[in-house]
């Protein structure tokens, strides 16, 4: 039972909320929709679920055209960022709700809700109402309700975003286990690249209502097809600069230059955009091809073992993420090194150059 979007698009008035999108999610797969707020993650999920009907294009599920089929007739479940439960019902009734609608036998409902509650550590709370639970327990209840009915498609819309750090980590660990032995398609929306990397599976990068790239998570991260995908899938944001190539030499402005080896040497001369991930920018000369970048320090964030330095480099804001404590004073001029052997090169149209 695979889910397929065929040029599905959503327009509201003159605004395009989702550009024509082609996407195939395989059964049993964990798919991540990665994008900033307002990138269209929720809207895309609603198209998948059938809560919204695409204004053009089609949605197919398990070889059937389900475009415009009401969400009630689809076997879908969904968990939102806000903790959505039925406030007038007990936790038990909340979890049992989809089974009751399906007119399941009482004994079977009891058994299934019991299993779910055990799995999500809700057993002592079954007789309480959602308002009496903590945020984490409320979201577990919502998860239990989404999982109890064996849906073919489970949509999780930033389910961990409103939880505090500790609970988020805990639930993040549990989530993949909950889906381990299921055949359903999971679609998980998040704004955090780190979360996508932790879950693995497949990742779709979303930017302004457009899926810019979709593929296995590791591959999407390592080999972004274009600058936008690289920017979506990088936290802190990827550093961007314009470089010029003449012969075997790349130049960053007038002063800084380096020689290319390997495949990039074959590129025609011209201007390129270069993207360097923050962990390839360091105060120390490390990596395959460290190139000095000078800048004025804006902010220095020091954690126990790591420094995140924000600085301006030729008018662009750059970020360096490095091991060790580098307490650079704010406003000081500093020299850092970008490892250009790890840099991503993009042409004028923003496509990545894979030489």
């Amino acid at each position: 039972m695979s889910l397929e979007l065929r040029a599905a698009a959503l327009r509201v008035g003159a605004d395009t909320h989702i550009h024509p999108t082609d996407l195939v999610c395989e059964p049993g797969s964990f798919n991540i929709l990665l994008g900033t707020t307002l990138a269209g993650k929720t809207t895309l999920m609603k198209l998948m679920a059938g809560l919204e009907k695409p204004t053009s294009g089609e949605v197919w599920f398990g070889g059937q055209n389900v475009t415009g089929v009401s969400v009630r007739r689809r076997n879908v479940s969904m968990v939102y960022q806000q903790f959505i439960n039925y406030p007038n019902m007990t936790v038990f009734e909340n979890i049992a709700s989809p089974l009751r609608v399906a007119r399941m036998a009482e004994a079977e409902i009891k058994r299934r809700v019991g299993t779910m509650a055990d799995l999500l550590k809700l057993t002592p709370m079954l007789e309480r109402r959602p308002a009496e639970l903590s945020g984490g327990q409320q979201q577990r209840t919502a998860l239990a309700r989404a999982l109890v009915k064996d849906a073919d498609l489970v949509l999780l819309d930033e389910p961990l975003a409103n939880l505090d750090f500790k609970l988020r980590e805990e639930l993040r660990d549990e989530l993949p286990r909950l889906f381990a032995d299921r055949e359903c398609i999971v679609v998980y929306a998040t704004t955090e690249p780190v979360e996508a990397l932790l879950f693995g599976g497949f990742t779709a990068c979303l930017h302004e209502g457009r899926v810019t790239q979709f593929g296995p998570t590791g591959e999407t991260y390592r080999a972004p097809v274009d600058l936008v995908s690289a920017q979506v899938f990088s936290d802190p944001p990827i550093n961007v600069a314009t470089v010029t190539k003449t012969g075997a030499e790349f130049r960053l402005g007038q002063m800084v230059g380096w020689h290319t080896e390997g495949p990039l040497a074959g590129l025609p001369d011209g201007t390129y955009t270069v993207g360097v991930r923050p962990h390839h920018v360091s105060p120390e000369e490390t990596g395959g091809q460290p190139v000095p970048v000078d800048g004025k320090v804006l902010v220095t964030e020091l954690s126990g073992s790591e420094s995140v330095i924000h600085f301006t480099m030729r008018g662009e804001t750059w970020v360096s993420q490095s091991h060790g404590i580098h307490p650079f004073p704010v406003g000081s001029e500093q020299r850092l090194y970008a490892d250009m052997s790890q840099a991503l090169f993009f042409d004028a149209a923003g496509r990545r150059i894979t030489a």
């Binding site: 609603k46 679920a49 809560l51 009401s70 969400v71 009630r72 879908v76 479940s77 969904m78 939102y80 806000q82 959505i84 039925y86 406030p87 007038n88 019902m89 709700s97 989809p98 609608v101 399906a102 919502a142 309700r145 009915k149």
Partner: protein, 267 residues
């Protein structure tokens, strides 16, 4: 912290507020002669005569029955009609929705007297004159917009995702609306019903215009008695005391909801 003068301010204020009510209750236990003859803080001889008259004379107690009948009919109609309307306003965007919502409110801005004549004519023509239904329907003119407005506030406080979750679970619209949504906004329904009850209970002009004998409301009975049988002040005070009771009774039941309503919704 011994005796700061500011501590007496609320006490004085409450006394000031309660004085007319106390005086009304005080008078209701006096004979008319005592009320007119002397100034007493307490009834010199407590009499239940006034109350007995009200509870035994049908022209009196039917006034209460009539009033309560149209007030209850009105409250039920107003809330039942306002629920789907408020849901539409809170959940859907449609052509002119904001204008329509504002226009509903403007109905409350005209004095009831403006509508007395058209209602009188209309209801006389269709044979509704002098029935509780007539008054109940006339009062919906003010109460439905009010109820829509209050309920819309409460409904907009409920995230749209709740609706979607219910549909995803497989609930039909009505199953969601009746089993999940209505219980969720029960506080709002209580507050809306309370305001409908109160406005309809205290409204006098339409209620008097649209009734003559069969459906005469209590307020109309009171004015008539004052004019025909001289000054039966004790009786009037007793009747007045009794008109406070239904309101107080309803307030008692929705008191927690109203506080919640002030915090959450639109009251």
């Amino acid at each position: 912290m011994m005796t700061r003068p500011s501590r007496y301010v609320p006490v004085l204020y409450i006394l000031f507020l309660l004085l007319p009510i106390y005086w009304l209750v005080n008078m209701s236990f006096k004979t008319t002669n005592e009320i007119l003859g002397s100034f007493t803080l307490f009834p010199r001889e407590i009499t239940l005569e006034n109350y007995i008259t009200i509870f035994t004379d049908p022209t009196w107690y039917m006034g209460y029955v009539n009033s309560l009948t149209y007030v209850l009919i009105n409250t039920v109609i107003s809330v039942l009609v306002a629920l789907p309307a408020a849901y539409a306003f809170s959940r859907y965007r449609f052509l002119g929705d904001k204008h329509l919502f504002f226009w509903l409110l403007t109905n409350r801005m005209a004095p009831p007297a403006v509508f007395a004549l058209p209602f009188f004519q209309l209801y006389s023509a269709v044979g509704l004159f002098d029935t509780p239904i007539a008054v109940a329907l006339a009062h919906t003119l003010f109460n439905i917009p009010l109820a829509v407005w209050i309920l819309e506030g409460f409904m907009s406080g409920v995230p749209k995702e709740l609706d979607e979750t219910a549909y995803v679970d497989g609930h039909s619209f009505w199953s969601f609306f009746l089993k999940i949504f209505v219980p969720t906004i029960a506080a709002g329904i209580g507050v809306a019903a309370f305001f409908c009850f109160m406005f309809s209970w205290v409204e006098l002009l339409l209620a008097k215009t649209l009734t003559s004998v069969a459906a005469k409301p209590i307020a109309a009975v009171m004015t008539r008695t004052a004019s025909t049988s001289g000054y039966e002040l004790g009786l009037l005070a007793a009747a007045g005391t009794l008109t406070i009771i239904p309101g107080a009774f309803v307030i008692y039941f929705v008191r927690n909801y109203i506080a919640k309503g002030f915090a959450l919704g639109r009251v």
